[in-house]
């Protein structure tokens, strides 16, 4: 394709057009980057777990459970985006209920893109014995009001990530709001084998993305 610009006026228009495009692109990127940098200058995170609000709510008799964070040599938490939910001495019929609290510490609104689930294929002996119940709330920045996004009961491990995704997918998490996930992990009435003891682990990975509002039906109120 050939574009022929014969006169000076056309050249100026093209250059101005290119400069305007560059200006729009740069300003848009800078505006967003400013908010991003402002909120992530210290930690680099949009959201963080709130360690003092992540806890074990209840366990059945004889079960030991803990919410564990990665810490340095003097006990300071060094990663607030990763948490370990520990449960030991579980037996058939036992349960542990955890609470996880994640706060939006950025200037940006975010939303859940998807929850992923990873299970070690070579060590999935208990995968079919686990069932989950729980609730998901979003606590407002005032700390007093919360929206119940949804609840679930007796969901299998294989269905857990899909359920969490579906409940959270369309809710934006604004600045300072907290996601409160109460997760009850229940074992079925039969575990095989229990005699030799068995270890099992799985990983849930929620992915948060920046929320971009759609402008189709938006309007702006202007003071006259």
């Amino acid at each position: 394709m050939k574009i022929k610009l014969g006169n000076k006026k056309d050249k100026h228009i093209l250059v101005i057009f290119a400069l305007v495009l560059i200006f729009i692109g740069v300003s848009y990127a800078l505006t967003n980057a400013q908010a991003y940098m402002k909120s992530t200058f210290i930690t680099g995170n949009l959201l963080e777990l709130v360690p003092e609000e992540c806890l074990v709510l209840e366990t059945s008799e004889g079960v030991w459970a803990e919410v564990d964070f990665l810490r340095d040599g003097i006990g300071r938490i060094i990663d607030k985006t990763s948490v370990n939910l520990l449960a030991a001495n579980v037996i058939a019929g036992s349960f542990v209920e955890y609470r996880l609290s994640m706060q939006n510490i950025s200037e940006l609104s975010v939303m859940v893109d998807e929850w992923y689930l990873e299970v070690d294929e070579e060590n999935d002996s208990l995968a079919d014995c686990l069932f989950f119940s729980g609730t998901i709330k979003v606590e407002h920045h005032d700390g007093q009001h919360a929206d119940l996004l949804g609840s679930f009961a007796n969901i299998s491990l294989a269905g857990l990530n899909g359920t969490l995704t579906n409940i959270m997918q369309y809710r934006t998490i604004s600045r300072d709001e907290k996601i409160i996930l109460d997760l009850k992990q229940q074992l079925g009435d039969k575990i095989d084998p229990v005699g030799s003891g068995a270890d099992f682990s799985y990983k849930l990975i929620p992915v948060f993305v920046q929320y971009f509002p759609e402008n189709k039906n938006s309007y702006r109120k202007v003071k006259k």
Binding site: K11, I22, L85, A92
Partner: protein
């Protein structure tokens, strides 16, 4: 795509190429920005099951009847009864014996004795007379087993006390 600018086309096209390069770079940076504004959390869950482990610490012949003579020996290995040997001499009368097992729960799960299985010899019957409802971890309890038999000769058999997790333990 080529763009021609009249006489000074070469010089102008270099300038325009520079502008387009900056434009492309900026738009690319915006794309990179979008990609950066995502975040993952890792919620790892580790589950360790409890252990069901019962050890027979002792086996004692409590009483016996209906025989001419009877000897009983419990063979131990490292404090655990591995095997019992009972020699009974009898003629026509059925005989019986009561053995008391002392069992210790060395696991981490509350256990209960749910029964006894033995090899299919009709000459010998075994039944549990007394057993605790629950043996909590670390506890030692006693289980009484009654053995009854009729005539037999040089019979070797094995029996297994069955334990399982005590559900809803308090």
């Amino acid at each position: 795509m080529s763009i021609i600018f009249g006489k000074k086309a070469k010089k102008k096209s270099i300038n325009l190429a520079l502008i387009l390069f900056v434009l492309i770079f900026t738009l690319g940076a915006m794309g990179a920005g979008y990609a950066a504004w995502t975040q993952k959390f890792t919620v790892r869950a580790n589950i360790t099951t409890g252990q069901l482990q019962i050890k027979i610490r002792d086996a004692v012949l409590e009483n016996s009847a209906g025989h001419e003579s009877l000897s009983f020996t419990a063979h131990r290995d490292d404090g655990v009864v591995e095997k019992m040997e009972m020699n009974v001499e009898t003629y026509s009368n059925p005989y019986q014996a009561v053995i008391v097992f002392t069992v210790e729960n060395t696991g981490t799960v509350a256990a209960a004795c749910r029964g006894l299985t033995k090899d299919a010899y009709p000459e010998i019957t075994m039944e549990i007379m007394e057993a605790p409802d629950i043996i909590v971890p670390g506890a030692t309890e006693q289980i009484k087993v009654k053995i009854s038999g009729s005539y037999c000769y040089n019979l070797n058999f094995s029996a297994i006390l069955q334990f399982e997790q005590a559900l809803h333990a308090k």
